[in-house]
C-alpha cells in the first residue's frame, strides 16, 4: 500500500500542475465571468469533503461495533481531512459568493449542512483530543450521529430557503467546462484518498509504537 504513495503523489501533483491550464482555457461563464472559475476548485473540494466525511463515518460505524483498530484509524484520518477540506470549502465559497452574488454568506441548505457537518467533525476531533481515555468510542458515536444528521439538516434548510445553485447545475454545464471540472474533481478525489490513506497509515504506526513501548517494558 505504502509503495503506491510516492508515485500517486507525483501523479496528483502533475494533475494539479496541469489543472490551472485547463481552467484558464475553459470558456467564461456568461454572468459571472472570471470569478466563476473558482468553482472548479470549490465544487471539487466540496465533493472531497463528503468523501472524507463518509470515510470517517464508515470507519466510526465499523469501529463501534467490531472494535477493529483499522476502522478507528480510518475514522480519525477522515475526520481530520473533513476538517481541513471543509475549512477550504467554507473559505472558497464565500469568496465566490461575495463576488458573484454580493453576500458573504447565506443560510441555505447546502451551505448550512456543510457548516454543520464541518462543526460535527471538529467536535469529533476536540473530543478525541480533550475527552481523556476511551474517547475513541465516544467520538465514533458522534461521527455516526453526525452522518445520520446531515440529510435532516439539508432537508430542513432546503424547505426553509434556497439560494445556492442547485446540484443540477452540473449536467447543464457548457461542454467546454465539463472537461476541466471533472479533471479537477478527479485530482481532488485522488488527493483526498491519498491523504486519508497516508494519515490512516500514520495512525497505524502510532499504535504500533504504543505496542512496542508496551513490549519493551516486558
Amino acid at each position: 500500500m505504502q509503495k503506491l504513495f510516492t508515485p500517486l503523489l507525483i501523479v496528483v501533483a502533475a494533475m494539479f500542475a496541469y489543472a490551472p491550464i485547463m481552467i484558464l482555457n475553459a470558456p467564461y461563464e456568461s454572468t459571472m465571468g472570471l470569478v466563476q472559475k473558482i468553482f472548479y476548485f470549490h465544487a471539487s473540494l466540496g465533493m472531497a469533503m463528503f468523501l472524507a466525511a463518509f470515510a470517517s463515518g464508515i470507519g466510526s460505524g465499523v469501529f463501534l461495533f467490531t472494535r477493529r483498530s483499522w476502522a478507528d484509524h480510518l475514522a480519525v484520518a477522515g475526520a481530520e481531512l473533513t476538517s481541513i477540506i471543509g475549512f477550504l470549502v467554507l473559505v472558497t465559497g464565500p469568496l465566490w459568493a461575495r463576488k458573484a452574488w454580493g453576500v458573504w454568506w447565506q443560510w441555505d441548505a447546502r451551505l448550512t449542512s456543510t457548516l454543520v457537518m464541518w462543526m460535527i467533525f471538529n467536535a469529533y476531533l476536540l473530543l478525541r483530543r480533550y475527552g481523556g481515555p476511551g474517547s475513541e468510542r465516544l467520538a465514533a458515536a458522534v461521527a455516526l450521529f453526525g452522518m445520520a444528521n446531515v440529510p435532516f439538516v439539508y432537508w430542513s434548510v432546503n424547505v426553509w430557503r434556497t439560494l445556492h445553485p442547485k446540484t443540477s447545475v452540473i449536467p447543464s454545464l457548457v461542454p467546454g467546462m465539463r472537461g476541466p471540472f471533472w479533471f479537477c474533481v478527479l485530482a481532488f478525489v485522488l488527493l483526498t484518498t491519498l491523504l486519508i490513506a497516508m494519515r490512516t497509515e500514520l495512525e497505524k504506526r502510532r499504535q504500533q509504537l504504543d505496542e512496542l513501548y508496551l513490549a519493551a517494558e516486558e
Binding site: Y130, G131, G132, L138, A140, L144, V153, V159
Partner: protein, 226 residues
C-alpha cells in the same frame, strides 16, 4: 415485560430523587426564565419584541436548559459512581437508556410548563391558539433533543471536559430539531397561522425522533462498554 419494568424502575428512582430535592427542576426552570429574559432584552426594539423572536427564544431556552438538565442528571450518577453499579446490574443497556430518557423528558416537560406560558406572556405570542399542534411540536422537539442528549451525556460521564463537551457535541447534531421547532412554531404565530406548514415540520420532527431514538438504542451498549 421485564424490559418495561426495568425502564420504569430507573425512571421512578430518578423521579423520586427529583421530587424530594427538586434541585434540577427548580434550577433549570429559573435558568430557562433567565435565558428568556436575556434574549428578550437582546431582541427588543423600541420597547417591543421583534417579530418572530418568540419562536426562536422559546426553542433556544429549551435547548440551553435541556443541556443543563442533562448535565446535572448525569452528574448525579457520577457521584457514588452509581452509573457503574447500574452497568454491572442485569438491567438491559437499552432499558437503562430509556429509563434515563423518560426521566429527563418528564423533567423538561415540567420546565416547559413554565417557560411556554412565560414566552407567550412576555412576547404577546399566541402560543395557545393551536394547542394540539403546539404541544406536538414541543413534545416531538424535546424528545429529539433529549434522545441524543441522553446518549451523549451518558457517554461523557467519565470523560474529561464533559461540561463543555456536551453542548459542543449536542448542538450541531440537534440543529434540525431547532430549525423544525422554530419554523413550526413561527408558522403558528403568524397573523394567519400556517397550519399545514406547522404540520409538515411536526412530521419531520417525528421522523427525526424515530431515527435518532433508534440509533441511540442501537449504539448505547457499544458506547458504554469498555
Amino acid at each position: 415485560m421485564r424490559f418495561i419494568r426495568d425502564v420504569w424502575t430507573v425512571t421512578r428512582k430518578d423521579l423520586l430523587i427529583e421530587t424530594r430535592t427538586r434541585e434540577i427542576v427548580l434550577t433549570t426552570m429559573f435558568f430557562a426564565l433567565a435565558c428568556v429574559m436575556v434574549f428578550a432584552f437582546g431582541f427588543v426594539r423600541e420597547g417591543r419584541p421583534v417579530q418572530d423572536a418568540a419562536a426562536g427564544i422559546l426553542w433556544i431556552a429549551i435547548a440551553f436548559s435541556g443541556t443543563l438538565a442533562l448535565g446535572r442528571a448525569f452528574e448525579r450518577e457520577r457521584q457514588g459512581e452509581t452509573l457503574r453499579a447500574l452497568l454491572i446490574s442485569p438491567i438491559d443497556r437499552p432499558a437503562l437508556y430509556l429509563g434515563k430518557l423518560l426521566g429527563i423528558l418528564i423533567l423538561l416537560a415540567a420546565v416547559e410548563l413554565l417557560v411556554v406560558p412565560m414566552v407567550a406572556l412576555m412576547f404577546q405570542a399566541p402560543l395557545f391558539d393551536y394547542p394540539l399542534l403546539m404541544l406536538g411540536l414541543i413534545a416531538a422537539g424535546t424528545l429529539g433533543f433529549a434522545a441524543v442528549g441522553t446518549l451523549f451525556a451518558a457517554m461523557l460521564v467519565r470523560a474529561r471536559s464533559r461540561d463543555v463537551m456536551l453542548p459542543v457535541l449536542l448542538y450541531p447534531i440537534t440543529i434540525p430539531v431547532i430549525i423544525a421547532g422554530v419554523r413550526g412554531t413561527a408558522a403558528l404565530l403568524q397573523p394567519e397561522a400556517d397550519q399545514p406548514m406547522a404540520r409538515m415540520w411536526l412530521s419531520m420532527l417525528v421522523f427525526f425522533d424515530v431515527v435518532f431514538v433508534t440509533i441511540s438504542l442501537w449504539t448505547f451498549e457499544p458506547v458504554m462498554t469498555d
